[in-house]
């Protein structure tokens, strides 16, 4: 019986494979419209800046590097984008967060999730989760989860909170270090 319980527990804990929710290229096209030249701006954070980021949002990049992708058209900046990973016990999700040239959030896409998390995320997205981020200032606290909570179940709500968290991390990195 113990063996069966262990097997069931292990099966329940098993992280399911990653699925692409939105191809990165499609996210780039959507979040940096009009851009046809791109540059990767890699910020190798000093210890002090890593700490600053950690103090602000309780997160710092594990490898010490934050990468923004800057989109340009005829040398005019069309915006910037960052891919942000958020981990939970069900596996990782990846978000693409785009910023317009004024520095406000242009949009958010969930680019990756796991097989298990996909239906929960889709439910949160269908309830309009990512609409809540459009146009927000990087100083604002993301509250997409609170907006969709009445319309969705517990797990989709948990996914929405993870998306909020990812947007909060990205916004802090943009606000503090993107020049």
């Amino acid at each position: 019986m113990k063996l069966i319980l262990c097997a069931v527990t292990a099966a329940l804990l098993h992280i399911t494979p990653t699925v692409i929710m939105v191809k990165r290229q499609d996210a780039v096209a959507h979040l940096l419209p009009g851009a046809d030249q791109f540059a990767a701006r890699e910020l190798h954070l000093s210890s002090a800046d890593s700490k600053k980021l950690h103090d602000a949002v309780g997160w710092e990049p594990p490898d010490g590097v934050v990468t923004f992708y800057v989109g340009k058209h005829q040398d005019q900046t069309m915006g910037a984008l960052i891919f942000m990973r958020v981990d939970c016990q069900h596996g990782p999700i990846e978000l693409a967060i785009g910023y317009d040239p004024r520095g406000t959030v242009r949009g958010v896409e969930v680019t990756k999730a796991t097989v298990e998390m996909k239906p929960w995320i889709l439910e949160a997205l269908r309830a309009g989760l990512t609409n809540a981020y459009n146009g927000m200032a990087t100083t604002q606290a993301p509250n997409g989860a609170a907006k969709v909570k009445p319309q969705i179940g517990a797990m989709p709500d948990y996914m929405a909170e993870l998306v909020d968290k990812g947007v909060m991390h990205a916004n802090a990195a943009y606000r503090l270090f993107y020049k």
Binding site: L13, Q25, R41
Partner: protein, 181 residues
């Protein structure tokens, strides 16, 4: 021998056969997944689990002040990156996979206990069944924290897993359904 699979009840042999078939199928898909996400060569495994794959431009120590490096990229370069398992993901993978590997090794070992083979062969086979997942994950961790050269340990673990399963499946099937005495 604690029990004799050769002369066991038909229902026991049916159970063992179905268990082996199901595990075999999951192993085939496991191999397919390894091919998709990690590869079967030492260089591919080192790229997936080694520290070099984590961020090609990472500085070993944080700089005194934040350094900004900018370079042109194509749309393709921003696309889906090569699958890489960083330390956090490896912690998670180890936590969730090791219990399942232990249960699979235990299930196969219970089958070994019912096979007609010498005590030494039984001990060696059970040892192999449990050594495989240890080698697999030890290889991943050593590749990450010591040297990419340890990728070969992970490959050895994968092949040991296949070998252990192959021996148990072949011997059990033969003894249960063909060699009755």
């Amino acid at each position: 021998m604690l029990y004799d699979l050769r002369n066991s009840d038909l229902r026991v042999r049916w159970l063992v056969t179905l268990l082996l078939a199901t595990l075999g199928t999951s192993y085939l898909f496991g191999a397919w997944m390894v091919g998709l996400y990690a590869g079967f060569s030492t260089s591919k495994v080192a790229e997936t689990y080694g520290s070099s794959g984590e961020a090609p431009m990472v500085m070993q120590m944080p700089p005194e002040t934040t350094v900004v490096a900018e370079h042109a990229v194509s749309m393709g370069e921003m696309g889906d990156e090569q699958h890489h398992v960083d330390k956090d993901l490896l912690v998670q993978d180890t936590h969730v996979h090791m219990p399942m590997y232990a249960v699979i090794a235990a299930a196969l070992s219970v089958i070994v206990l019912g096979l007609s083979m010498s005590r030494a062969s039984g001990l060696a086979l059970i040892g192999l069944l449990f050594a495989a997942p240890w080698l697999d994950f030890a290889g991943m961790w050593l590749t990450k924290i010591v040297s990419p050269r340890f990728a070969v340990v992970t490959l050895a673990g994968g092949w040991a897993m296949a070998l252990g399963y192959g021996i148990v499946a072949a011997v059990a099937t033969y003894q249960m359904w063909w060699r009755k005495q």
